[in-house]
Symmetry: D3
Subunit: 246 residues, 6 copies
C-alpha cells in the first residue's frame, strides 16, 4: 500500500480503506415487477426492477434467444442540488447512456440467452438518493432483481433451467489522497485522482474494468493495488447477494 497511512483518511461510516459501506438489499420493494430490489450502498439508494417481456429486439427475432437490457435514471433531487429531469430536457445525457450500456453488458455477461428463450428481461435502475457508486450499486442490485425474475419464470414453468450462469457484482475503487480505497462515496469520488469501476463474476473473473485518471495518471503498481481491493469488495458483495435469497 501507499506510504500514507490509511488511518489518516477519515472515511464515512468510520470504515477502513479496504472496507465497503454498509450494504442493504431489500427484495420485493415494489409489487408489480417480476423482480424489485432496493439496494443501498451507504447513503446511495437505487431501486432496481426486472421486467419480463415476451418480445425481443429486432436483432434477436426468430433466433430462439432472449435479451437482457438496462435503463438507468436519477430522480432530479437524488443529488445535492437539483439536476434537470432528462425526460423534460428531451434527451438522456451521455453519462446516462454510458452507464445503462455498462449495466446491460454486465448482466448479459452472466446470462445464457439461449436458455432464456425469446423474451427480454428489462432492468430499470433508478437512483432515489445518490452518494457515489450509483452504477456499481445498480449492477449489484440488478443482478438480484434479475434472479427474482428468473425464479418467477422457473416457478411458472416458462423455462426449465436457469439462464443465469454466474453471479455478477460491481464496486468502485480509487486513489484518494494517495491512498487506494474501496467503494468511494460522493466526497471521495469528487476528490480522487483515479477512479476505477470493476465488474466481476462470482468466480472472480473480470467482466468490465473502467479506470480513469481524473487527476494524475496512475502507475502499474497502483493499478495492481486497485485490482486487489476490487476483488476483495466484489467477493463480499456476492456473499450479500446470496444472503438476500436466504
Amino acid at each position: 500500500m501507499s506510504s500514507t497511512s490509511p488511518a489518516a483518511l477519515a472515511r464515512s461510516f468510520g470504515r477502513a480503506a479496504d472496507q465497503l459501506r454498509p450494504v442493504r438489499i431489500t427484495r420485493g420493494f415494489t409489487k408489480h415487477a417480476e423482480g424489485s430490489v432496493l439496494i443501498e450502498f451507504g447513503d446511495t439508494r437505487v431501486l432496481c426492477t426486472a421486467s419480463v417481456e415476451d418480445k425481443v429486439p429486432p436483432h434477436k427475432r426468430g433466433s430462439g434467444e432472449g435479451w437482457v437490457t438496462a435503463e438507468y435514471g436519477m430522480l432530479p433531487r437524488a443529488t445535492h442540488t437539483r439536476s434537470d429531469r432528462e425526460a423534460a430536457k428531451g434527451k438522456q445525457s451521455g453519462r446516462t447512456q454510458e452507464i445503462q450500456r455498462l449495466i446491460g453488458r454486465s448482466l448479459r455477461a452472466v446470462f445464457d440467452l439461449k436458455k432464456l428463450g425469446e423474451r427480454t428481461i428489462a432492468l430499470d435502475c433508478d437512483v432515489l438518493q445518490a452518494d457515489g457508486g450509483t452504477r456499481t450499486a445498480s449492477i449489484t442490485g440488478a443482478f438480484v432483481a434479475a434472479q427474482d425474475a428468473v425464479n418467477t419464470l422457473l416457478a411458472a414453468g416458462k423455462i426449465a433451467e436457469t439462464p443465469i450462469i454466474n453471479h455478477v457484482a460491481a464496486v468502485s475503487v480509487g486513489i484518494v489522497q494517495g491512498v487506494p480505497v474501496l467503494d468511494l462515496d460522493y466526497p471521495e469520488d469528487s476528490a480522487c485522482d483515479t477512479d476505477m469501476n470493476v465488474v466481476m463474476t462470482g468466480v472472480g473473473h473480470y467482466v468490465e474494468v473502467q479506470g480513469t485518471a481524473e487527476g494524475v495518471a496512475f502507475s502499474r503498481d497502483e493499478m495492481n493495488q486497485l485490482l486487489a481491493l476490487a476483488e476483495k469488495g466484489i467477493g463480499e458483495l456476492v456473499e450479500l447477494q446470496t444472503a438476500a435469497f436466504r
Copy 2:
C-alpha cells in the same frame, strides 16, 4: 345516492364507497431535498421532493416574486406492465405534461409568491408504484414537501413570514357500476364511467375541478354527489397533512 347499494361494491381495503384508502405520509424520505415526502394512498406511492433554487423563470425576473413549479414522472415499472421511459423516448407524454401543469397550478393557488421572494420551489413528484390516483397523491404530498421547504427557509431566516396561505389537497371521485365513490384505485379507475379530480384548499374552496365522462355523460345530480364526496375526502386529507407535522 344511487339505488345500487354501495355494499354491493367490493372495494380494496374493504372500504365503503365514501372512504379513502389508508394514507401514509413519511417526511424526510430522502436526505438532500429541502422537503422530501413519501405519500401513500393505499398501494400508490409517490416520492415528492421540494427543492429551493435561488433563481426564477424569465417572466418573474426582477419582479421580487418567486415561483412554484412541478414536474411529474413515473418509474417505468411503477405500473402493471412496463411503460417506456420518457427520458429514453425523448419526450414527456401529453398526459405527463397535463399532470405536472395541474400540480404546479394547484400549489401556486395557496402560495403568496411575493412573500416567497425571488426564488423557486421546484416540486418533483415521482411515482414509485402506481395504483390509481397518482396525481391526487402528488398534489397532497407535494404540499407537505413544500411546507418542509418553507420551514427550512424560515429557520434559515431567508424569509420572515410563510408564503403559504392555506392547505391544498386533492382526491379523485367517480361513478363505478353506478355508485359514486371516493378515491378510486386502478381497477376502479379503469372501469368507471366518470372520473373527477378535485383540488381544494383547507377551507373547502375549489382550486381545480376536472371531471371526465369516460363512458356515458353524467347528470347534474351525479355531479352534486361527486362534489360532496370530494369535499369529505379532502377534509380528511387536510387533517392528515396537519398530523404529519405533529
Copy 3:
C-alpha cells in the same frame, strides 16, 4: 347572482353576463376536407376540418371499431403579439396537447365507434384569430365538421347508420370582478379569478368540466352559478349547430 350588479360590467358586444358572443358557423369553408367549418365566437375564429382516413391507430386495429382524434394549433399571429410557431420550435406546448386531448375526448363521447367502422375521423382545429374561448369554439365547431364528414360517409354508402349519438358543444364560464359570466373573451379571461370550461351533450349531460381558480379559490355556491350559466350557453350553441344544417 353576486351582489355586484352585472350592469356594472362592460362586456364586448354590449352583452349581459349570461349572454354568448355572436356565434357564426360557416360550413364548407375550404374545399378538400370531408367537413370544413369556420366557427366564430365573436372575434375568435377557428377553422375546424374533419378528415376521413381509412386507417385506425394500433390499439384499434382489427377491432372493427373506428377512432376520432383531434389536433389543435394556433397561427403565430392569431394572438395580440406573435407567438412562436410550434413546428419551428419542434414541439407542441403542454397547453396545445392538453387542448387537443380535450377536443378528442369530447368528440369521442358522442360517437359510437363501432358504427363508424375501422376508419378515423381526424379533426384539425386551427385558430386563425384568437380572442378567448378557442378550445370551446373548437369543440363546438369540430362537432359540425364531424357531422359533415359523417354525412359524406352516409351519402357514399360507406356506413349505414350515423355513429353520432348526440350533439356536443362547449363554453367557458368564469367569475370576473366578482360576477359569474358566460363565454369569456380574452380580456375577461386574463382578468378573471375563476375560469371553467364545460362540455355537455345535446341532452344536458356533462362530458367534461374543467374549472381552475386562477386567483382566489371559489366556493360551492359560485360553482353552482357557473354550472347554470354553462348549461344555458350550451343549450344555445346546440341550437346553432342544428341551425347550421338547415
Copy 4:
C-alpha cells in the same frame, strides 16, 4: 411557343397558357397583425401576416439595421388528403424550410434594412387551402402584408422613410404536355415536366429563379419561353399589389 397548340390544353378557369388564375388580395383579413392579407391564386389561399417586433436576431444586434424573416406552414387539411401536422411530428420538413428561406430572401431583396431600424418584420405565410403555387402566392401576398406593416410604422412615426425599395412578386411557370404555361395549378404541377418559380422586382429584375426538370431536362429555348411568361405574369401581379392599396 411550342408547336402543340395551347388551345389543346384545358386549363382551370378556362384560361390561356399565358394567363394567371383569378387573383384576389384581401387586406386586413385578421385583426391583430400589423399586416394581414389573404391572397388567393385561384383555389390556393394563403394567409400572410406581417408582425413588427422590436428585436433583431443576434447577427444584427447593435448594427442599427433591421431584419425581415419568414415562416411557412400548411394546415393539415389544406391538401387533397390530410398531411401530418409538422408541430406534432416535431420538425419542419425540408420542403417547408426551403420555402420559408425563399420567402425571406425574396422579401429582404426589396428592403433597405438600415431604414427599417433595429426591428424585425416577421412574415407568416399559412396555407389555408392548397391548389398549386403556394410559395409564389406567399411571396406576392407577404409583400402586401409587409407594406401594411411598414405603413403602420410610418403612421406611428417610428420610421421616417419607407425601407421598401421596390415591389416583389412571384409566379410559377412550367412545361405541361409540351406547352409552356403560366401559374400552374396543382394538377398541372403534378403532371408537368418542368417547373420554375420566378421572383422578380417591380422593375423586372430577377431576385430568384428556381427551375427544376421533374421529367425530361429542358432546353435553352424552352428556358427563354418560360422566362418570358414569368415576366408577363409578374408584371400583372405587381399591378394587382398596387391596386390593393387603392
Copy 5:
C-alpha cells in the same frame, strides 16, 4: 460581357473569368463503398460515396422501380472557422436539407429507375474541405460514384443494362464586382451580387437552375451571360467525368 475588364479581377489559380478551378477526380478513395470518389474543385474537397442497398423507400415498394437518394454533410472544421456538428445539435440545418434534396433530384434526373430494379443507390457527399461550390462539386462527384456503383451491379450481373441515361454535372456562376464569372470560390461567393447554381445533363439540357440575387436584382441580359458561362463549364466537367473512367 460587362464593360469592366475581366483582367481587373484577380481570381484564385490565376484563372480567367470563364475558367474553372483545377478539378481532380479520384475514384476508389475509400474501400468499402460500391463507388467512392474524392472530387476537388480547387481547394473544395468532397468525398462522394455511392452505396447500393437492397431496399427502397415505402413509396417505391412493390413498384419494380429503384430509388436514388442523397445526403450531404460538412465536417465541422471543413470551413474557415469551426461550425457546429449537426449530429451534436440534433438536426440538419435548412441549408443542408436544401442541398441534399438538390443532389438527389439532380441524380434522379439522369436515372431510369425502372432499369435500376428495386434497390436504392444512396449517395453521401461529405465535405472534407470547403472553399465555395460544395454543392456543385457534390453533384459532379456523386455522378462518378454512382457510375461506379452501377458498374458494380452490371459486373455482378444484378442488372442487365445501365439505368444511367446521361451524364449530370453542376457548376456555379455569379456576378462579382460587375463581372460574370464561372465557378466561384469562397471569397467570390461571399462578395458576389448574384449567385446561380446550374445543373445540366451531358447533352446540355437544364436539370436545375437556382439563381439568387444576394445584393441587387439582376437583369435578363446578365441572366443570359451567366447561362452561357454555366454551359461552358458544365461541358468541361462532363469531359472530366468521362476522363476519370479512362
Copy 6:
C-alpha cells in the same frame, strides 16, 4: 502467453500477435484547421482536426483556465455496410457519445488547462474509413493535431509556454481465439472474447483502461498479459507521434 501458438493466428499485414498495424500520420491534411492530421492504423483512417476557439464552456468562464473537448463521427459509408447518418437521425448514438467523452478525457489528462488560457481546443475526429480501433486511432491522432494547434498558439505569441504536459496515445488489446493480441482490426474485434482499450501517457502511466469481456470473463493472468501488450504498443505509437514532427 497462452498455450495456443501465436503463429496459428493469421493476422492482417502478416503481423505477429504483439505487432501494430502499419501506422501513418499525415499532418496538414486539410488547410483551415490549426491542426489537421490524417491518422491511419492499417485500413482505419481518421481525420483529426484541432480548432482553437476564443471561448470556454460556462463552467470555465472567468476561471483563467481553458478547455479541451472532442467530438467523434463516422461517415455513413466508412463501414462495410452503410450506417445511418447521425445528423439525419437527429441524435448521436450512445456509442458515439461514449467515444467522444473518452477522447476528451484522454486529451485533458495531458493538458495543463491553466497554461492554455481561457480558450478551447476542439478536437474533431471523423472516421473516413473504419477497420477496427477507430477510438484509439482518434486519440493518438488527436494528440498530434492538438500539438500542432498549440504550436500555432506559441508561434503567434498567444501563450508563452506549452500547456502540453506529456504525450498521450491509445491502443486496443484483446484475446482472439485464446491468444492475447495487440491492435485489433475489425474482423478480430468482432470475433474476440475480450477487448480492452488502453490510454497511456508518454511515460507509461495509465489515463484510461476500458476492458470488456464480450464472451467469457477473463482472469487476472490474462489481464496482466493484455496490459503488457498495451504498454509495448503505446510506446511505439508515442515514438511515431514524435517522428511526425521531425
